[in-house]
């Protein structure tokens, strides 16, 4: 029986070991399809809506990029205000916009999460807030120094200025976001950056702090996405689309196979949950190059969650969602329906845990999922079958199946949601 099967497989050349390969048209034909899509999508792009357009600016809060000097003067005004309070013997307190999930709002017209206008008072003379208030004052004074000296530091640097006070980096990072909210500026305007995490490779040329970078000539690993987006500019590309990859493993596969030369594209990954720099970079590419963004994530609730962070923003940083979110990201794969469509063998599928199923069901309640009926359908299928699969499940048909069959076929069929 097994022998027969193998013989038949042999006679079908390698289409059985790499199923659906025979469905593939020639690359030229696929490119033609892609070009028509790209041209239609780029022509339809209009100016993005803002909160003001929807008359929500009164009830929602948004930050903007501020120049270094205006950050400095905002801090100074705040500190003077504190000094007045202290000298009058009233102690001091901060009014901090609340970033709790009850203060978040998904705006369908904008297709992103924004922060509502609720604030909490953080007084020094209360036992539950004294610590955070002190840390806030400390961070303010550190950012003030950065403004004076006009330098960038990382979040880690900031933490190490007073380890004893901050205790662990989570605390100083959280307060840093609070400070952004208080001052009404983006985190990048504070001159505090996170360490490099994202990488980009493919048909992209841009300038980083004056140096021209050609991402086709960056070797296999690609170019690390620079943490300060304000130094990035002059983007040029002949790519037809941007491919967003969840994981490093799939990224390396595509980079090594030079997938971007077969189908002109830019490949980006943030290796899991995206950091601010990668999100800003993706947004900038999308805005300047006007290319469709296709996402390749795992077929599990977390893959979709990561996709949603690129698309609609995270709750933690919803105050800056205008700058951080990239609208109109298409879910290319791997989608729950692909598991059967591409006959991914049982041994490569994993059963979902209780926690996975719960996360999946929670996602179904989220507005940013509901707005896309295709996603709801896929997610329902995932929760129903209780199966998940990683991108690597495709490797069961050969390591290069992803770049040689799966992606080209997906592109040819324009199979994205």
């Amino acid at each position: 029986m097994a022998d027969k099967k193998r013989r038949r497989a042999d006679s079908d050349s390698d289409s059985a070991s790499q199923p659906f390969k025979n469905l593939l048209k020639s690359d030229a034909q696929i490119l033609k399809i892609l070009k028509s899509v790209t041209s239609s999508s780029s022509s339809s792009t209009s100016k993005p809506l803002t909160l003001a357009d929807l008359a929500l600016s009164a009830t929602c809060r948004e930050v903007s990029d501020l120049s270094l000097s205006s950050v400095q003067s905002t801090i100074e005004a705040l500190v003077l205000q504190l000094t007045h309070q202290i000298l009058s013997g009233q102690g001091f307190s901060f009014t901090v916009p609340s970033r709790s999930s009850s203060n978040q709002l998904y705006v369908p017209e904008l297709d992103r999460i924004v922060l509502k206008d609720k604030s909490t008072v953080r007084p020094f003379s209360h036992i539950s807030s004294v610590r955070k208030t002190t840390i806030t004052a400390k961070i303010l004074s550190l950012v003030h120094q950065l403004c004076l000296k006009n330098i960038h530091v990382t979040k880690r640097d900031l933490f190490y200025t007073d380890v004893k006070l901050f205790q662990d980096q989570v605390q100083s990072d959280a307060v840093l976001d609070d400070v952004s909210c208080i001052l009404g500026c983006t985190r990048s305007s504070l001159n505090v950056i996170a360490a490099e995490k994202g990488v980009v490779v493919g048909r992209l040329i841009f300038s980083d702090n004056g140096d021209m970078i050609d991402c086709t000539k960056m070797g296999m690993g690609g170019k690390a996405i620079p943490p300060n987006i304000d130094r990035v500019g002059d983007m040029q590309s002949d790519a037809l689309f941007i491919l967003l990859v969840e994981k490093d493993a799939a990224y390396i596969r595509l980079a090594e196979d030079r997938f971007y030369n077969r189908f002109p594209c830019i490949i980006v990954t943030a290796k899991g949950q995206p950091d601010v720099a990668t999100r800003l970079f993706l947004k900038k590419m999308k805005m300047e190059l006007k290319l469709p963004v296709l996402a390749l994530v795992d077929s599990d609730p977390y893959g979709l969650k990561i996709l949603s962070v690129y698309g609609c923003g995270s709750k933690n940083m919803s105050y800056d969602s205008a700058n951080l979110t990239t609208p109109d990201i298409k879910w290319l794969g791997i989608r729950p329906s692909d598991l059967d469509k591409y006959k991914i063998p049982e041994q490569c599928r994993l059963p979902m845990t209780e926690q996975d199923i719960k996360t999946g069901k929670d996602l179904l309640e989220e507005d940013f999922v509901k707005k896309n009926p295709g996603w709801v359908e896929e997610l329902n299928l995932m929760v129903k079958t209780k199966q998940k699969a990683e991108i690597q499940a495709l490797s069961s048909f050969g390591f290069q199946y992803l770049s040689e069959v799966y992606l080209p076929l997906k592109l040819q069929q324009q199979d994205w949601l």
Partner: protein
């Protein structure tokens, strides 16, 4: 000596079937069976034997005192008898070793010589030699007044120990008289008899019993041992003596081989836990040896005079009986017909139910059926029906739990915890036997180690061994989320006390040392009882934390003043610099501040002082608010117990309007 017993057991086991094949059937007396399988009764090794002997005698003493509602007074004395003394006791001449190499302990010969030279250290080495005896002297004395005190060792004895019955009570294994169903302390009902068998096996010395009952003007004295093969007592001396000082109670003296060194802590733990669960008893524990520094004397004082009620004998619940038991009940019953039998020999079967049951049994049954004429098949049918039919649950009235009051006092008395909470569950049922779970949880205390300290009690006796598989241990470790109750499982000193009483405790294993974790009724009752205690504790702990927060608020706030002022001042300083160099313009009020900063009129210290003043003000206001909110709370009052003095009447009372002055003579 230790290795002798197991081999003996093996021999006995392997021989019996062989012999049975080739020759006549040989009968084994119950005493022989227990002598060969003494590990079943907890006599595994000399150390455990000493421990089990102590506990059997203590439990018998408690039972007998409680049976006549007398507050127990129990003295336990363990006396170490070294080899030479033992030899002289049995009349054996202490012989010098001639052929040294003959002995198993030949290697220690040098040490032995030294020992002979130094008599003070003698016992230690001799303890390792085979012939070592220990004496357990047991007094169960109720000295308190009225002359009606009586306590003995025998579990089912509420009446006293009649002079003539003493030999049979000790000298015949399985000679109990109790056939009812009742919550009892003893594990096997072997008690003192097993100790007697062990003394016979290890030292050969007889047991001595003195007893005096109420209404007896004499003292029964009896010296006996047991004829293991015939399972009958072998009486050396049995006489009536004068009871001059009208002493009531019982005293038992037994000489056994034991090992104090290894089981010292177990025995002391046992005594302490016993004191927790029976705070109305007074225990005096003594260990006496030739080395004075090793002697131990501990008194566990009485803390209350409230005793739990005596457990009542109850009838079997229909769902708990098996075929054998039905047969036995039929054999023993005085009722003539089936109808009466069902009504009177079981609980929860009333007349209407009995009629319905008989109707359901089938056509060959009628209410008038003579119960003694039932065939085996008919009995099986009755048993099947009992298993399937629905009966009301048995009530817990026949049980005698320790009671929240006593459990609480016991915990306070022995552990002196910072906080304690107790809970008593309602009666529940497992396989037709009612059970009650009581729990106590304490935090802090004296001689308590960090983390969980688990105290298990079954029918008001402590369980010390095989803690790992026990339902209480597992529940406390795995199913209680201590964090939810603001208790730190690793840092706090937590005492968990769970007492389960039942007409039949579902013990696991041969040693009857733990209750399995697989009985969901008991597991959930234990969990909820512990949780109830934790809920009580939580509110106390939260209040305490609030109070502590009140005390430490000022310190916690002040701690952050330097960091906060530094941060603010650093920015001010920079601003003052740029203001001075006219880089930036500020409004009048702000410019004023910056000028003062430049002129050192406003410094770090200024800010520091202002903040400190503010913190003090806030602290004062909040303390005031806290005080008005909570008010002056009074701690709940607790009854204290003053031990009554021996009112022998030899005192004078001088009465005054406000006090009584009592002068003892």
């Amino acid at each position: 000596m230790e290795s002798e017993c197991p081999t003996e057991t093996k021999k006995g086991k392997s021989k019996t079937p062989k012999k049975a094949k080739e020759s006549i059937l040989k009968q084994k007396s119950p005493a022989e069976f227990f002598a060969e399988n003494k590990n079943i009764a907890g006599f595994d090794n000399p150390g455990k034997c000493l421990y089990t002997t102590v506990r059997e005698l203590v439990e018998n003493a408690l039972d007998s005192a409680e049976a006549i509602s007398e507050l127990p007074v129990i003295e336990i004395t363990i006396e170490e008898i070294v080899k030479s003394k033992f030899n002289s006791m049995i009349g054996l001449v202490d012989r010098e070793r001639v052929d040294e190499e003959l002995y198993d302990d030949y290697e220690t010969a040098k040490a032995r010589e030294k020992r002979l030279a130094k008599e003070a250290r003698a016992q230690e080495i001799q303890a390792k030699n085979a012939a070592l005896g220990k004496k357990v002297k047991e007094h169960a004395v109720s000295k308190s007044s009225k002359g009606r005190g009586e306590a003995s060792f025998y579990r089912d004895n509420g009446r006293g120990m009649p002079h003539d019955d003493i030999p049979n009570m000790f000298g015949r294994v399985l000679s109990g008289t109790k056939y009812g169903l009742k919550q009892t302390r003893g594990k096997f009902g072997l008690g003192a008899k097993m100790a007697l068998i062990w003394s016979k096996m290890s030292t050969g010395l007889p047991i001595e019993i003195s007893s005096s009952m109420r209404g007896q003007n004499y003292l029964s004295f009896c010296r006996l041992d047991i004829d293991i093969h015939r399972n009958i007592p072998h009486i050396h001396l049995h006489e009536k003596r004068d009871n001059k000082d009208k002493w009531r109670g019982a005293e038992i003296q037994v000489v056994i081989e034991g090992n104090w060194t290894t089981y010292r802590s177990k025995i002391l733990h046992y005594m302490r836990q016993m004191a927790v669960i029976t705070p109305y008893a007074q225990f005096l524990f003594k260990f006496v040896s030739d080395a004075p520094d090793k002697n131990v004397t501990i008194k566990f004082a009485r803390r209350t005079d409230v005793m739990p009620p005596v457990p009542v004998e109850t009838k079997h619940h229909p769902s708990s009986v098996d075929i054998l038991l039905i047969k036995r009940l039929i054999a023993e019953t005085s009722k003539q017909n089936l109808m009466q039998f069902l009504q009177h020999e079981f609980v929860n079967i009333g007349k209407p139910l009995a009629e319905r049951l008989i109707g359901e049994m089938g056509p060959e049954f009628s209410p008038k059926t003579a119960v003694k004429s039932l065939t085996d098949q008919q009995i099986v049918r009755i048993h099947q029906l009992f298993r399937q039919a629905k009966f009301d649950d048995p009530s817990g009235d026949c049980l005698s739990p320790a009671g929240e009051y006593n459990l609480r006092l016991g915990i306070i008395k022995e552990l002196h915890p910072d906080m304690v909470a107790t809970y008593s569950g309602s009666a529940q049922v497992f396989e037709g036997h009612p059970f009650i779970v009581e729990a106590g949880v304490s935090v802090g205390g004296k001689d308590v180690k960090q983390g969980l300290n688990i105290f298990r009690f079954a029918n008001r006796i402590p369980l010390l061994f095989e803690q790992g598989g026990d339902v209480v241990t597992r529940t406390a470790l795995k199913r209680i989320s201590w964090n939810n109750y603001k208790i730190n499982q690793t840092q706090d000193k937590i005492g968990v006390f769970v007492s389960i009483v039942s007409t039949k405790i579902p013990f696991k294993g041969t040693g009857k040392e733990y209750i399995g974790d697989d009985i969901s009724e008991i597991a959930s009752a234990v969990k909820s009882a512990i949780q109830q205690c934790c809920i009580q504790l939580k509110s106390k702990i939260v209040k305490k934390m609030q109070a502590r927060e009140q005390q430490e608020r000022k310190r916690n706030l002040s701690k952050y003043i330097p960091d906060a002022t530094n941060a603010v001042y650093d920015v001010l300083k920079e601003m003052a610099k740029s203001h001075a160099s006219k880089k930036k313009r500020y409004e009048e009020g702000d410019a004023d501040i910056l000028r003062k900063v430049s002129d050192h009129l406003i410094t770090k210290e200024t800010l520091y002082e202002k903040l400190t003043q503010h913190v003090e003000k806030v602290d004062y206001e909040m303390a005031l608010e806290y005080a008005t909110q909570t008010g002056v709370r009074e701690e709940p009052r607790e009854d204290i117990y003053l031990e009554s003095l021996d009112d022998k009447g030899n005192f004078f009372d001088f009465h005054s309007p406000i006090f009584v002055f009592r002068l003892f003579l």
